[in-house]
Symmetry: C2
Subunit: 332 residues, 2 copies
């Protein structure tokens, strides 16, 4: 299902004389690690992280440190995101390109593209390696296609908190076509650019315009923001994940809340779990300083309003009328 | 609901010139922290751990370190369990005695005690402060009562992985009466001593003989052990929590499994979450080296057999007939 670059990984381990290695992968890729591990075990002692690995922000540095491991293989993301990797640790990033044809999914759904041209072509990391061939295919069909480049290493690549590859070409295109499983990556593009965004999902073999789903999510989010207006006690959430840790932002937000005569509690943890937070029954609403996607995509799980770090001003100053969808995500 | 020793905490913070403090509490006590925090906030900057805090094994040392905090208030447990607290950190343990009368619950359920005498009287930390008065009450009613003392600081105190206060008096008593909310603490006593064990639950105001529930749990556990006989691929679970971290035990177990021609994967994480582990679809069964209670009380959550570190031998050597209930928990 995924190309785990086993030969490159082996060479890297051997070049670096690694004896022990910690492997981490997102939940969706964990199922496919069996042969990869077996192959590595011939040469090094393998330890597997049982944690989530949400992104390049979520590198298992603390687990590696505790295990005395100096070599991490981080699967599914392109590189560190807002993380400075300590000098005594090395991390090899395996993109894990999906071995699933994007062209097939495209061919069966061409009618969904309509008259969109030029198309801004984007992809999650798992599919960026197919962007060029998809571009050619679309051009042969008469579409004009632009692949942007942003802060990330691959042409056309976007992640949950960086869609600069979309922003950089937004003016030049009439819609975006985002190759990715699920709606997560497309959401970011739509929120940041406001442009018509189609998702080409190679797993479900579908092209979907996300606008209606987005509108539902945003309506629900506005409803939660309105509920947050009534909140008197805010939990300000901080994750200790290396690329999500924003304690100073949290302290500033807590001070701001207190200045408005409300209560603020700074809550710190690694994995922000709605189930555990629910035990703080006295808290009315959360302000999120960690992964920006927590307070939009996963809002339902929290049972209480969870708002972004940029949104607390709208709530405290009671001016939701000024709120725009782009304000939901404090990093994008 | 709980006595959070606010005056003692304040004095400790002041004596130690603390400027910032990290508060952690088990999920069941998180709801009652509001006034406690408000009171402390007048004197120090307060940060709250959003993590679980399962026991004295689970002290938020890593969170404190990342926050640059040298003072932790750990609520609900008596002290460190298998944890060496670093010299540059101080932890104040608040027992959080429950403000709920045990005697009331006892009075309404005296018929459940039957002819059990002498009674071995035990309690979870939240109720140890009432043991003496309960003892007197029972003695006035004609019962003979023994309160044991084990490795833990309070007379009669037991925790999930230490029931030495029960073991030390097991020969002298005809049954145990365990004052605790829920069946968790009573389970440990029964498993370790094999004696009739009654739970006096002050929240539900009931006395319950746990034998039938225990038998059901044990039958289910044996069924899981039998399923583990078929397993070819084992995940050996390691928690990075300071008092649960058993990497060397895990490595030994993994070697043993491999010697028997089966596969072993060492999986390392802080909070062992069944939901995340389920993504390792290729694994047939787990061996637990972390909190011993994971592989008995919470077995159902794992969807796959999870066996204790002591039980792997029975499985690999195919001799479940020799298995005794006490083998389920590798620390007790």
């Amino acid at each position: 299902m995924y190309d785990l670059s086993i030969q490159r990984v082996k060479k890297w381990l051997s070049d670096n004389k690694a004896k022990k290695v910690l492997i981490q992968a997102p939940d969706g890729i964990k199922a496919y690690l069996e042969n990869f591990i077996e192959s590595l075990e011939k040469e090094v002692e393998v330890f597997i992280s049982g944690s989530r690995a949400w992104g390049g922000c979520d590198i298992a540095l603390k687990e590696a440190k505790q295990l005395g491991i100096k070599h991490i293989i981080h699967i599914g993301h392109h590189g560190p995101v807002r993380v400075k990797i300590p000098e005594n640790v090395q991390v090899f990033f395996v993109p894990a390109f999906a071995k699933i044809s994007v062209e097939n999914a495209l061919e069966n759904n061409l009618n969904k593209l309509g008259d969109c041209s030029p198309i801004g072509l984007l992809a999650s990391l798992q599919h960026v390696n197919q962007l060029k061939s998809v571009k050619k295919k679309l051009e042969n069909l008469g579409y004009s296609v632009v692949i942007g480049h942003g802060n990330l290493p691959f042409d056309g690549q976007i992640i949950g908190c960086d869609v600069s590859a979309a922003v950089n070409i937004a003016r030049k295109v009439s819609c975006f076509l985002v190759i990715a499983g699920g709606i997560f990556h497309g959401f970011g593009v739509y929120i940041r650019t406001g442009k018509k965004t189609l998702i080409l999902d190679p797993y479900r073999k579908k092209i979907v315009d996300i606008q209606k789903t987005m509108e539902k999510f945003y309506a629900k989010h506005l409803y939660n923001l309105a509920k947050a207006l009534e909140a008197k006690k805010f939990g300000v959430l901080v994750s200790t994940k290396p690329g999500q840790y924003s304690i100073n932002l949290a302290r500033k937000i807590a001070q701001k809340i207190k200045k408005h005569g409300k209560k603020a509690y700074i809550i710190v943890t690694d994995e922000i779990e709605p189930e555990t937070l629910q035990n703080f029954t006295f808290i009315d609403a959360y302000v999120n300083t960690a992964c920006p996607r927590l307070n939009f995509d996963n809002e339902d799980n929290f049972k209480k309003p969870i708002i972004g770090a940029k949104e607390i001003d709208y709530v405290l100053e009671n001016r939701l009328a000024d709120h725009k969808i782009i304000d939901t995500l404090h990093i994008l």
